[in-house]
Subunit: 146 residues, 2 copies
DNA sequence: GGAGCACTCCCCACTTTTCCCCACGCATCT
DNA sequence: AGATGCGTGGGGAAAAGTGGGGAGTGCTCC
């Protein structure tokens, strides 16, 4: 189960976003057509299939809640988390707070990112890519040689 | 049973706060729709389902009461503790002293924090998050030691 | 010891939001 | 050219949040 590809779809007045059929097609049955959706890194939204999210929850549950940093992190990730099941048309509803957080409004860029799906405001994604100091080739060399 | 999500609800004149339906839905039957409510860390209110609280009581019971720090900690956590059962509308009543402690008045921010629920004054929560020296991405890298 | 007061708990009614279903238009494939 | 699959929009039913009222209980003061 690997998500790939991109699409720019609309976000309607109810906060609904279609998930590309290509990405729906690779979901495991265990995911039950349901995602855990939460804030991502760099101001985007993450969608994890339910089965994939279970591993992340396990890691969070192992944290020591008497550590202040751990508490801050757990609050920051869990407060944005929500479960959303695909409706009959293959869409998920994203809560207003999350859309505001990612500055998504009207149109959304949907990216397949291996084990999860990302939703970006199209303009914000362009800015993010422009800000990256290294080009694709340099990045590839550094990351893939680790 | 994992609590997640956020909501900003009202606190009425009787100190009642609605618990979001999403969070009520994940309660174990053993919790009997009842929470142990006590002071939290960083000036908020903690709500532990009854079954989850049992584990904390066990840990407290194992403390060495001949240690002065242990005695102070036990006093501080237990003196605020109270039990509250959901009413027919899915609300809990929070005692005036606890509301004063967390500076909650009028409106409350309710956060799912994995094994418990937290209730914050919205402004105070913003301040808390602003005070964090590290951003979300840095925190995640350190806490999850990825 | 009894009456009155205050508090708490439970129930009812209203308003808003959410969820689910149906219908349309466009593109693609046969 | 028709049929099928996919993205988009809207409406109605059900659930969720909010506020107020009334009965029962315990306390205090007379």
């Amino acid at each position: 189960m690997v998500f790939k590809g991109q699409a720019e779809y609309s976000v309607d007045s109810k906060g609904r976003v279609s998930i590309p059929a290509k990405m729906r097609g690779v979901l495991n049955p265990e995911a039950q057509n349901t995602f855990t959706i939460t804030r991502g890194f760099e101001e985007c939204i993450f969608l994890y299939p339910l089965d994939q999210w279970a591993e992340i929850e396990e890691a969070i549950g192992a944290l020591n809640m008497f550590n202040p940093d751990a508490r801050t992190f757990v609050r920051a990730i869990m407060m944005w988390a929500d479960e959303a099941t695909l409706d009959g048309q293959g869409r998920v509803t994203i809560s207003r707070p999350l859309l505001d957080f990612a500055d998504v409004d009207g149109r959304a860029l949907i990216i397949g990112a291996f084990d999860h799906i990302e939703i970006w405001d199209p303009d914000r994604f362009d800015e993010y890519m422009d800000q990256q100091p290294d080009d694709y080739e340099t990045l590839a060399e550094r990351v893939m040689n680790m």
